[in-house]
Subunit: 183 residues, 2 copies
Amino acid sequence: MKDGRNQMVGLLMPPSFLGQPGQESSPYDVVAVDYTVLCCFCRNQFGDLMKEFPHLTDRLLEMSLRELDAARQWLLVLGCKLAREKTASFLAVLASREAVAKALPRTRRIAFDLTISREAIAACLGLTMETVSRQITALKNDGIIQLKSARRIVVPDVNRLLREAGDVPAAPDEGDRAISAIA
Amino acid sequence: MKDGRNQMVGLLMPPSFLGQPGQESSPYDVVAVDYTVLCCFCRNQFGDLMKEFPHLTDRLLEMSLRELDAARQWLLVLGCKLAREKTASFLAVLASREAVAKALPRTRRIAFDLTISREAIAACLGLTMETVSRQITALKNDGIIQLKSARRIVVPDVNRLLREAGDVPAAPDEGDRAISAIA
DNA sequence: CGTGCTGTTGATCCCGTTCAATGAGTGTGG
DNA sequence: CCACACTCATTGAACGGGATCAACAGCACG
């Protein structure tokens, strides 16, 4: 926003598409927070490419719908959840992405690195850096997560984390469905 | 959410498409809040239809990207803005939709009906009914809007409303660009 | 007139912000 | 090697915006 407030509107993971065909520029900044490989297309030629390979349009549509779903789920996080639930939700997303990236089959223990600062996490969640820090500490003290370092997270039991995120009622072990829904 | 909290994730206006090709069902409820005309397609046949008319896929992609942009803009509202700004943003969206619906050319005075309750507005904004009511009253007292009745809104100057929404810095009359960006 | 629903208004409380100090990790130059 | 600077993260104390609880008003029903 013009006055310095800002909001993260998406977390991209490969393979994802960046930029919108038919528009000159994007109103969003895009920042790489990890090792990144970009495959660039020329805007003009891309239209021809879509004409030549209609399947490309199908794929783009599919990915857009997926992103739309993700954005809407994030609306739920920002609109309804408490700070603790927000923080847990964020970590749960990272955990589930780590799980799919390394193809861990419904694992309960997941470890990953935070590639962004507390401040950036706060921008994702509509919170302040301080609140994020406090919530992470609280989750650690409650045994939901472990901190190898400030940036290294270990989730011993993803289902417990999901329960803290509010995505699972209270029933035990309903998380298996929930985690696949997030991924 | 399972515990009663809920969040509105989109406001549909004609012509908009409902439901996602390639998915069995939607995880969202859809509620009509105004006179509505639905044009229904059979899920199975729709795939064939897209094959027969590739242009259909292009249109769907275009509309999805538009919705994605709207969702992301709403993330900004939910994540960053104060209650007053949220309320103003919501009214601004309705006002700009009214403007495009009736093809009012960059009008400054716009009147429209709220077809939903305060509670539903609150669900859109991640606020409570009481807060929404208070903010609407405050906007009325500050002359930003007028209330013909609880559901009938008059916006004398859309630019002022946009300024309250935080979408416009403080510079006078930059709103002309802003309103077209929202629509 | 009573009943129910929607919206308004008031009083109090609490979660998250704000402001401020401190700690921890890293690189730099002496 | 240590002192220093710098950034990121943690922690504490006080404040405030919005939630919560509650009473009441307006209005359409029977």
